[in-house]
């Protein structure tokens, strides 16, 4: 994990479904930093996270890691990020351990101990051999979060990671984020509830919404 390279977005403008979601948005995230995205429903938190992951492309502006735009080297960017979205990628017929080792394996970690550590980190080691179809909403989410710990990656992108988690699990997640940041990792997360991210920055997306009468920009661009 390199420590000096900043992860930045400059002058971002994003359209979704032909509509302007946000504009003139900038962010910078140094190693060990945490950026919490807040804002009302529909303000573009999920959209920004997908931009950061490279799943979407901004209509204007660039996102860069250490000065290199994502579009120039998408493979390298993919190798360095973990994305946890609304969907949990839990297969009904695989056990928790099988699911986790597959995802660790995809990122090159074939180590059984690492998988066990990750299961323990989110207190799902007791249900490690239960198949996916029997999991409750919060258990699935915890399994999804365990991927973060199983295979290390410097950038975590978490879209409402606390959804469905009970309080004990929220505390586990806060701990995992703190350890990751202490190791020089960085985290971007969106949330509607309070999550302890000491020393982290907050980005309120409501501030970048297009002005009420500015919609002509969106029209022309579409």
């Amino acid at each position: 994990m390199t420590s000096s390279s900043p992860f930045t977005g400059r002058d971002l403008l994003c359209l979704r479904g032909g509509r302007l979601v946000f504009q003139d948005l900038d962010f910078t995230l140094a190693a060990g930093g945490c950026l919490t995205l807040v804002g009302p429903n529909g303000s573009g938190k999920s959209t920004l996270l997908r931009l950061m992951a490279g799943l979407l492309k901004p209509l204007r502006g660039t996102i860069a890691w250490d000065g290199v735009a994502l579009a120039q080297d998408p493979e390298a960017h993919r190798a360095r990020l973990h994305y946890v979205g609304h969907l949990d990628a839990v297969k009904a017929s695989f056990t928790c351990r099988e699911i986790l080792s597959f995802w660790a394996g995809v990122r090159g970690v074939a180590d059984r101990a690492a998988v066990d550590r990750a299961l323990a980190a989110f207190a799902i080691d007791t249900i490690a051999d239960v198949p996916g179809r029997f999991l409750s909403a919060g258990q699935r989410r915890r399994l999804s979060l365990a991927r973060l710990v199983a295979a290390p990656a410097p950038l975590w992108l978490l879209d409402e990671p606390t959804v469905g988690l009970d309080r004990a699990s929220v505390a586990l997640l806060e701990g995992a984020i703190a350890r990751h940041r202490a190791d020089g990792g960085r985290v971007v997360l969106s949330t509607h509830i309070d999550l302890a991210t000491p020393g982290g920055a907050v980005l309120d997306l409501a501030a970048f919404a297009p002005a009420e009468d500015d919609e002509d920009g969106a029209e022309d661009a579409a």
Binding site: L59, R60, A71, D213, D214, D216, G217, D220, A221
Partner: protein, 73 residues
């Protein structure tokens, strides 16, 4: 004239070919024209519905917004 219409005994084939061509070409033209009329009418009503909001920023943000589309990656 009769000889022209009977097409040397192949009237059915020749004239149905030309008939089909007329049908397809005129049909597409009419469909395109009515489609165009329809959207242009809805566009006109929509733009008429909110003229106040649109006029003011026309001076400012529009020039900066349209180059954005041209330099899109």
């Amino acid at each position: 004239m009769d000889g022209f219409l009977s097409m040397g005994g192949y009237a059915a084939y020749v004239w149905s070919s030309y008939g089909a061509a007329a049908l397809v070409l005129v049909g597409l033209l009419v469909l395109s024209l009515t489609g165009l009329r329809r959207v242009e009418r809805t566009l006109a009503t929509l733009e008429a519905a909110k003229p106040r909001r649109k006029r003011e920023p026309k001076v400012g943000p529009v020039p900066t917004a349209s180059p954005a589309t041209e330099t899109a990656p």
